[in-house]
Symmetry: C2
Subunit: 168 residues, 2 copies
Amino acid sequence: MGKSATKDSDVARSTITAPKLAAKWRKLAEARCAAANERLTPARLAAYAELLASKRPVSAYELIALMEDRQQRKIAPLTVYRHLDFLTRVGLVHRLESTHSYLPCDHPEHAHESQYLLCSSCGHADEVESKPLESILNKIADQRGFQPENTVVEIKGLCASCATSDSD
Amino acid sequence: MGKSATKDSDVARSTITAPKLAAKWRKLAEARCAAANERLTPARLAAYAELLASKRPVSAYELIALMEDRQQRKIAPLTVYRHLDFLTRVGLVHRLESTHSYLPCDHPEHAHESQYLLCSSCGHADEVESKPLESILNKIADQRGFQPENTVVEIKGLCASCATSDSD
DNA sequence: TGGCGAACGTTATAACATATCATTTGAACC
DNA sequence: GGTTCAAATGATATGTTATAACGTTCGCCA
């Protein structure tokens, strides 16, 4: 099968659909991939666009469902895990360890650790960039001769609006 | 079967075996349970003893295997998850989010957040207690009106001894 | 244009976690 | 001692998250 000029796989590739992706994000993705010497394929871009289109962090299997819905075909878990792995590797996406979910980085201009406030009520994830926090984490590691590669900071609780509406 | 004075279940309960548990840890467990108004059952204590006997963090399924080996009977995942849930709840055990594993708290004298240095080479988990870190985390939450309930800090990398032996 | 490594697809399975419902336990009270 | 009731446990099934193994396709570049 698929020996004609237009192969099956070409069709599959050419028909990858994705949410509309603002030029800003596409350019960012291209820049990051160029910097990391990685390929930005349509499938990878589609996964990224899907995460950007979501209001909240999504699990890998939610992402599979979203992409299957949009593209009207089966997508294997491993495929999506590879996209997520790639997007995480180049710094476009962060993984939330405590909820097993993924979301686009809010401050992707530069590489940085993942630090979040996670609301257990509404599910909102608020990315934090705190120099003092980073420096204290580095200091803790340093004092113990520990070489940090990657640090997870996830503060779970109630966000301002949920806390207000709960406690009235 | 089992209608005699000594029921099967009695036998099962009475035959729960566990690693030797230093009096220090047993008393701590009793104190914590009393404080939390929770029951310290033989099965819960056995799970705790097994974690204490392990040199490294263990996954839930590793713990199942350890307990099955020691007790020579099948143990359902849910059973062990309930023990882990209990031990975590009363503060005797911490869960490592980034490795899906569990380990006894090193500083169980008082309740506190879980903060670890995790070596990706040897698997060692080094518990940290840093007041400055806690105060920064609280400040970050505070500035945003966020009410923290539980915070995860996991610094992944190479511990001092692995870093040394790797980089020679 | 042919060779090569990265990316992708497919199938299967491993690893982690919870739902449901029946049964047992143990402490409190009479 | 017996009754009662919530907590703990057991058994079975299932849901969720993640990876292994292996072959094919893609896209670059010599």
